[in-house]
């Protein structure tokens, strides 16, 4: 009961802060701004900010957070969140630093022994590594019970390792399937047919023949994590697994090999752009936006990018759907991220409160223009749906159907080995089956370390 009261108090504080922040937001994005007021009241039942009963005012100390540039919440918005939080807690100072995704991992590692940061932004593939190596703190005890039911599982997974929480879920993302509706129409393809990978292959052939697109499919298959994302989701949608329940390699048969064979075949058949093997996510956006591809997989940000007339020549033609099925379901890959408290932080309480604040339903709804919330209830909120009516319903379904990449300590090393093996198969230097057989002992060696 007392907890409920304190929540109410906090909520009032939050609403005040939200109103304050919305002024800045209105200028930036009108849809997000209008959503703020209504969501504040309708989302009350979510009790998103509940949990710790510590009143905010006794909180004091200074923390430094390391965040990601370029995607998710913008630098300005994170600074606004920090400002509102500091208004709530006058004795708290929040410093924020921002680096590109590419530099994030190394920055965290280099700074860890010195304890530069209290709060760090981590990718879904890092909890196992950082937790085992003692870089980030176990905060299982702090996570409120309602989070386990109110937050989408994919978001929770971004902070979980071996059943323990090493961070707070913050950003939810997955790969989606995009197609150019004009090109599909031109080729006489029924959009309903691109709900399975076989349908995609057939549609691609039609687009190639009838719509004059040389390579209808483009993918991010460069030697990078991106290729593993695509392969992992296809493996899952073909009913396979990269690793079994015991964490041992399972990619030498079943869905994993089928997925790889499908990928290779699409290159051989001339429906996949051969430059895919050097492309990252950004290249997929560019090729698709230039009208040189009809279909592709990408993270949620592509929906806005490909439909932005400033960057794209196909604005208004990009349609987002769930990932096609290979027989086992329309399963995507989890690309979420979390905020972790570092093991060396001297102000873990402040870091925790700030992380909890920025991942609360209210703040996430307030900045809906930047990212979709981690909270289940948000996806039924008309104000949220209104921000992107074509996208939010798709996201709601897809976020409930995602596969995780293996949570192993040596994930980066394992992933590098797999990237090379997958690329060898894609370039045709060995067969998919052979590539998987060859890399298995190497991966086993890494897992044994």
């Amino acid at each position: 009961m007392s907890e409920f009261v304190s929540q109410l108090n906090r909520r009032r504080f939050l609403l005040g802060a939200a109103g304050f922040g919305a002024a800045g937001l209105l200028a930036a994005c009108s849809s997000g701004g209008t959503g703020t007021g209504t969501t504040g009241s309708s989302g009350a039942g979510a009790s998103s900010t509940g949990g710790s009963s510590s009143g905010g005012s006794d909180l004091s100390g200074s923390i430094t957070g390391l965040f990601m540039k370029q995607a998710g919440y913008s630098e300005d918005h994170i600074n606004q969140m920090a400002a509102s939080f500091m208004k709530l807690h006058p004795n708290v100072k929040v410093n924020s630093e921002f680096v590109a995704y590419e530099a994030l991992h190394d920055k965290i590692v280099a700074a860890a022994p010195a304890g530069t940061y209290d709060l760090v932004f981590i990718d879904v593939i890092w909890p196992a590594e950082f937790a085992t190596k003692g870089l980030i703190a176990d905060i299982t005890g702090r996570i409120p019970a309602n989070w386990k039911t109110d937050v989408l599982q994919g978001a929770l997974d971004s902070a979980l390792y071996q059943g323990k929480f090493y961070g707070l879920p913050w950003l939810l993302d997955a790969k989606f399937f995009y197609y150019n509706k004009n090109l599909l129409t031109k080729a006489g393809v029924d959009p309903a047919s691109v709900t399975s990978w076989d349908g995609v292959a057939t549609a691609a052939k039609a687009v190639k023949d009838k719509a004059g697109v040389k390579y209808p499919l483009v993918w991010s298959w460069a030697q990078a994590e991106a290729v593993i994302c695509d392969w992992a989701l296809m493996t899952a949608s073909f009913g396979g697994k990269l690793f079994d329940e015991k964490g041992q390699p399972a990619f030498t048969d079943g869905g994993a090999v089928q997925a790889l064979e499908f990928m290779r075949k699409s290159i051989v058949d001339g429906i996949t752009n051969p430059s895919s093997t050097q492309s990252l996510e950004d290249d997929v956006v560019k090729v698709f936006s230039a009208g040189d591809a009809a279909m592709g997989l990408n993270w949620s940000y592509m929906f806005a990018a490909a439909n932005d007339p400033k960057q794209s020549t196909v604005a208004g033609q990009a349609v987002v759907t769930e990932v096609p099925t290979g027989g086992a379901g329309r399963i995507s890959v989890n690309g979420s991220s979390a905020l972790s408290i570092t093991a060396t932080s001297k102000n873990q309480d402040v870091a925790w409160e700030f992380a909890k604040y920025v991942s609360s339903l209210d703040v996430q709804t307030q900045y809906i223009s930047d990212a979709l919330p981690i909270w289940k209830s948000a996806y039924d909120d008309p104000a949220v749906i209104k921000t992107a009516p074509e996208f939010v319903p798709v996201a709601k379904k897809q976020f409930n159907d995602m596969t995780n990449r293996p949570q192993v300590v040596a994930y980066n090393a394992v992933s590098q080995k797999l990237q090379v093996a997958v690329q060898k198969a894609l370039l045709g230097s060995v067969s998919p089956q052979q590539a998987m057989n060859d890399v298995k002992p190497e991966v086993e060696k890494l897992l044994a370390q």
Binding site: D106, G134, A224, D292, A413, Q416
Partner: protein, 339 residues
């Protein structure tokens, strides 16, 4: 008084060297001089104390900051350390990291790529550098423009030039494909970074485009200290331009070429930025170099012991190469290079 140095310069230039210009001039300048003067001038007194005093500031600047990190790297290389945290478990493994390095097929492949990159890029940079250095030394009507143009690529940070080349060579919207197609040189857009061999050669082109400038400017500086009388004398003798170049200019440029060769070899063997930005070591590890591999091992994979061992091996290889070059080029075939 005023004349005291000028004749010296000339006497050095015109010295016994001109009798046998093919290797003579380089010999006295690099090796024989120190040797000879050790008897006449240098032998007057040992100056270890003064030398130490003069080297002290440099030593403080150089070793003040890096001694501990280097010692730590050496220590790490004999241990198995999988976390940067001071509290992390450490396991002494002796030479195991080094032994592993010699049987690590990925590292061996990366070494092959690095050697190929180093040989081809350094050779190309030296050859183009010597030619462009000569060209820049000419009396040309728009020489400043030529010099500025040759400098430009060098002034562009590697991160930028590598991103630029990645874009220029893009298989879908790259301007190089557009240009070559529109000129009718290639029939359709090509995937320049699509195969390991092609990607490696493209990285070399990008590297040569950027770093030839250094070689060219060092050669230009080297030409500046070559006494003109030598070349003029040869020219009066009626030696052809090509022969003059090979028999006089090139040997005189030897010290400068050595500097460039050593610097570029060191940089090339450590090559990281340009590969990381252009291909990240792909496709299928075809452009992975030892520095990229060391980076992945030490940072991405947090295998600090093994990563340190690889880094030390890089230092050893580069050091051996540098010593070999210095000996080879400074002796010029006449002296034993006893420095």
């Amino acid at each position: 008084m005023t004349d005291s140095t000028a004749p010296t310069t000339q006497s050095r230039a015109g010295a016994p060297a001109s009798a046998n210009p093919s290797h003579g001039p380089a010999g006295p300048r690099k090796a024989s001089y120190p040797k000879r003067f050790r008897h006449t001038y240098g032998s007057s007194r040992r100056s270890g104390g003064l030398a130490a005093l003069l080297l002290l500031p440099a030593a403080v600047v150089v070793f003040g900051l890096v001694t501990y990190p280097v010692l730590r790297t050496v220590w790490l290389s004999f241990n198995r350390v999988l976390s940067p945290m001071p509290t992390a478990p450490v396991q002494m493994v002796g030479f195991q990291n080094f032994i592993n390095a010699f049987t690590d097929s990925d590292l061996i492949a990366a070494t092959g790529h690095t050697i190929y990159f180093t040989l081809v890029s350094t050779a190309a940079e030296i050859v183009f550098g010597v030619l462009l250095g000569q060209l820049m030394a000419q009396k040309l009507r728009f020489r400043w423009l030529l010099r500025a143009a040759i400098l430009m690529p060098w002034a562009l940070p590697t991160v930028v030039s590598a991103s630029m080349w990645r874009y220029l060579l893009n298989a879908d919207y790259g301007p190089i494909n557009a240009l070559l197609t529109q000129l009718g040189i290639i029939g359709s857009y090509r995937s320049w970074l699509g195969t390991p061999t092609s990607a490696m050669n493209m990285i070399i082109i990008a590297d040569v485009w950027k770093n030839t400038s250094i070689a060219a400017f060092f050669v230009l500086a080297g030409l500046a200290v070559i006494p003109n009388e030598l070349r003029e004398a040869a020219s009066v003798d009626g030696a052809g331009a090509v022969r003059r170049f090979f028999s006089i200019t090139l040997p005189l440029l030897r010290p400068v070429i050595m500097v460039v060769l050593v610097l570029r070899t060191i940089e090339a063997f450590k090559v990281f930025d340009i590969v990381y930005v252009m291909t990240r070591g792909g496709p299928s590890n075809g452009t992975q170099t030892v520095a990229v591999y060391a980076y992945q091992t030490a940072f991405s994979n947090q295998n600090f012991g093994y990563g340190s061992a690889i880094a030390l091996l890089i230092v050893v290889v580069v050091l051996l190469l540098a010593v070999a070059y210095i000996r080879m080029l400074s002796t010029g075939g006449t002296s034993d290079g006893g420095r």
